[in-house]
């Protein structure tokens, strides 16, 4: 993975010093809350219901075991001994004290991590596919490009005060595990007719109150032009994006109001001027790529026979393999998901003790790296099949082997009213109700992939509008109600869910999920997936049954 040089390290260290001084000035009364707010936000610090919340960037979801240990250490010393992983592959501390944040940032800087631009109206952490570099179907590893974008976007002087936040995601092929169509800019590595690799560029996707899928602004962009094209889009947006209404300030609205063709004209006109100045040379591309070269894989890994044998002997292991293991491009290697959706913790949460264990397991079995995923799980990306049983045993004894990846209980869920100052309704307790009800793993496996996404308010942090089942908490005269949508997807077949009907009271949410599943079981053809059934029959059959009683 990428290692900082002196330039990178100096910038992160200087940022800590700068923020330390800003915090000092705020605490001394020299900065008002209003003046301090954008400064702390650009360092990832929100103020929530109970305490500040610090969001730390994990660039494109990649961590070394050393960094994971540091995260565990920080959560123990400065927080309550656990962290929360987010849909944008970052992690959050829910209880840090405002005055200790400069110290936390200094700790992070010591392992080449930071919270720079993890909030605020600026370019946020660039995300990617958790299977980057190990996936046989990808055209090219997207991570070097993510790092190039990370550096370009870090402290970009022109784009620190955009109309609204700005998110970029990059994937290496057709499969989309990074929800790129729901980002302000989505970049897909593609091959053109001449066999050259470049980027398809999408713009104007986003969730929140007005979910919109991104549209293609350019079918093929040469790699050397990546930064100049991004800069052109950002400059057009910085000048044109609305600043009168924060709900209309994202680039998705700019694109909708002006039309993709007009935006394309503006961007291309701008691009002509800056293309040369920002051209990426081969030397720089190679410099970054060198950090992502293929490790020395063991050519004999596929000789192992124990993997098959242990699956035959141990049904629980076999179930975990079936659900949580994915193929690797190198024979004899697999990638293993560590589900953070156990019945005993809120979705995405993991304890300091578990993080330490995961770091040890990464060192022992997976080249010392851990990845965080858009679905709020973790991944060990390079495990020899012969090591999987030993890995599973250790995960199991630490409550980290929940075999539910992509099932109904692998939910995306925002912190909701329990933590968040914006929320109208709770989400974590409902997620727990659903998880408790659907605790029979065999039943879950029979149901197949079902993505439930549940947000506690219109801001839609859990991406409910692209959930196969989306659940949105709304406030009705001080009571919590929930709006359901069906048939959304954030993947390569991205679509926005359709509304089921009027909102449902909190005490009927579990029952409604059960009814939806019952209808699915009745209408399903063979092993048809939930999303396919919804797309085939539409929402009406579900609607009829859910609202049948009243």
């Amino acid at each position: 993975m990428y290692q900082y040089d002196n330039y990178d390290q100096a910038m992160v260290d200087q940022r800590v010093a700068q923020y330390r001084d800003q915090t000092r000035r705020f605490l001394a009364g020299e900065l008002t809350e209003e003046q301090f707010r954008p400064l702390r936000l650009m360092n990832g610090l929100y103020v929530q219901i109970h305490a500040p919340m610090l969001r730390v960037a994990i660039p494109y979801g990649l961590m070394s075991s050393r960094q994971v240990r540091k995260i565990a250490d920080i959560s123990r010393r400065y927080d309550k001994g656990y962290v929360h992983f987010t849909t944008r592959t970052n992690f959050q501390l829910n209880w840090p004290a405002l005055e200790t944040v400069p110290d936390i940032l200094a700790e992070l800087a010591s392992v080449q991590m930071h919270a720079i631009q993890s909030s605020g109206n600026c370019i946020r952490n660039t995300t990617s596919d958790q299977l980057a570099g190990i996936n046989a179907n990808e055209i090219e590893d997207p991570r070097p490009w993510c790092e190039i974008i990370r550096q370009w976007s870090t402290f970009h002087p022109e784009f620190a005060y955009l109309p609204r936040k700005f998110k970029i995601a990059v994937i290496g092929g057709k499969e989309d595990r990074a929800a790129t169509k729901l980002h302000d800019i989505g970049l897909h590595l593609v091959k053109n007719n001449e066999g050259e690799v470049g980027f398809e560029v999408l713009v104007g996707g986003g969730l929140g109150r007005t979910p919109i899928l991104g549209q293609q602004i350019r079918p093929f962009l040469e790699k050397k032009d990546l930064l100049s094209y991004l800069e052109a889009i950002l400059r057009v947006y910085n000048r044109l994006g609305r600043r009168d209404n924060k709900y209309k300030a994202r680039i998705k609205i700019t694109v909708r109001e002006h039309g993709i063709n007009h935006i394309r004209e503006l961007v291309e006109a701008e691009w002509v001027h800056i293309r040369e100045q920002l051209e990426l040379d081969d030397k720089e591309i190679e410099r970054v790529k060198k950090h992502f070269t293929e490790p020395d894989y063991d050519g004999t890994a596929s000789d192992d026979e124990s993997f098959e044998k242990m699956q035959a002997e141990d049904a629980d292991f076999a179930a975990w393999v079936k659900q949580n293991i994915v193929e690797h491009k190198v024979a004899g290697y697999k990638a293993a998901y560590i589900s953070l959706k156990s019945p005993t913790a809120p979705p995405g949460d993991v304890s300091a003790e578990q993080l330490d264990i995961i770091a040890d397991l990464a060192d022992e079995f997976s080249l010392g790296e851990v990845r965080s995923t858009h679905n709020q799980n973790l991944l060990l990306s390079d495990v020899k099949q012969g090591d999987l049983y030993a890995l599973w045993c250790q995960l199991k004894s630490n409550n980290l082997a929940t075999a539910n990846i992509n099932t109904l209980t692998d939910m995306i869920c925002c912190p909701g009213l329990d933590f968040c100052g914006l929320a109208n309704a709770t989400s974590i307790p409902l997620a727990k109700e659903i998880t408790d009800r659907f605790d029979d793993l065999d039943y879950l496996y029979d149901l197949g992939d079902i993505k439930i996404k549940m947000s506690g308010c219109m801001n839609g942090c859990a991406h409910q509008s692209v959930g196969h089942i989306g659940i949105l908490g709304v406030d009705k005269k001080g009571e919590e109600w929930y709006q359901f949508t069906l048939g959304g997807s954030s993947e390569e077949d991205a679509s926005l869910g359709q509304r089921l009907g009027r909102a449902i009271p909190k005490d009927k949410v579990l029952e409604t999920v059960e009814t939806l599943i019952d209808v699915f079981k009745d209408l399903r053809h063979d092993d048809e997936l939930f999303l396919s059934t919804v797309r085939r029959v539409g929402v009406d059959p579900f609607k009829e049954r859910v609202y049948a009683d009243n």
């Binding site: 330039y7 700068q18 550096q151 002087p157 022109e158 620190a160 005060y161 910085n238």
Partner: protein, 160 residues
């Protein structure tokens, strides 16, 4: 009043004329784009230097042919969160090759001086003028930038 210009605290004598102020006064004055467009003939006869004040709403492309008439361009930041003029500053320097003074005026936090300088703004008229000495420290918050900036036209990747 005192302002920061080219990293020094200096006394400033520019007068920023309201559109309503009927007559031109002696000395160095700035006017809005609107007034410039309406009265440029009489303004050109003014005995003293001319400057123009621009906000994020103004179509800066329209005044490019007139740039050499102005010794000062004031970019107005109505709120510190309004970042449009960062792009204006870069365009004025990089694309339109404006060599005169570009000044930030309005709601400016001293933590923004570093970014503004990178974009080509070289003077700062700050509301909190009693804290200018303290604000000056912000110029050195960072020793490097990854990006192409007005100060260092080559991005870091060509220099590392």
């Amino acid at each position: 009043m005192q302002i920061i210009k080219d990293r020094k605290i200096v006394e400033d004598n520019w007068l920023h004329l309201d559109d309503e102020a009927a007559d031109l006064v002696l000395g160095d004055v700035t006017v809005t784009l609107e007034r410039w467009q309406a009265e440029h003939e009489s303004l050109l006869k003014h005995d003293g230097s001319l400057g123009i004040r621009l906000s994020g709403d103004d179509p800066i492309e329209e005044m490019v042919p007139d740039l050499d008439k102005f010794k000062l361009i004031v970019l107005i930041f109505p709120a510190f969160t309004d970042g449009r003029c960062y792009s204006f500053a870069r365009l004025l320097r990089d694309r339109y090759d404006y060599k005169g003074e570009i000044r930030a005026q309005g709601d400016i936090l001293h933590d923004q001086l570093f970014y503004m300088t990178q974009c080509g703004i070289n003077s700062f008229e700050m509301a909190n003028s009693h804290r200018l000495v303290e604000a000056m420290a912000a110029f050195d918050d960072f020793s490097e930038s990854y990006q192409t900036t007005v100060l260092k036209p080559d991005p870091l990747y060509r220099r590392r």
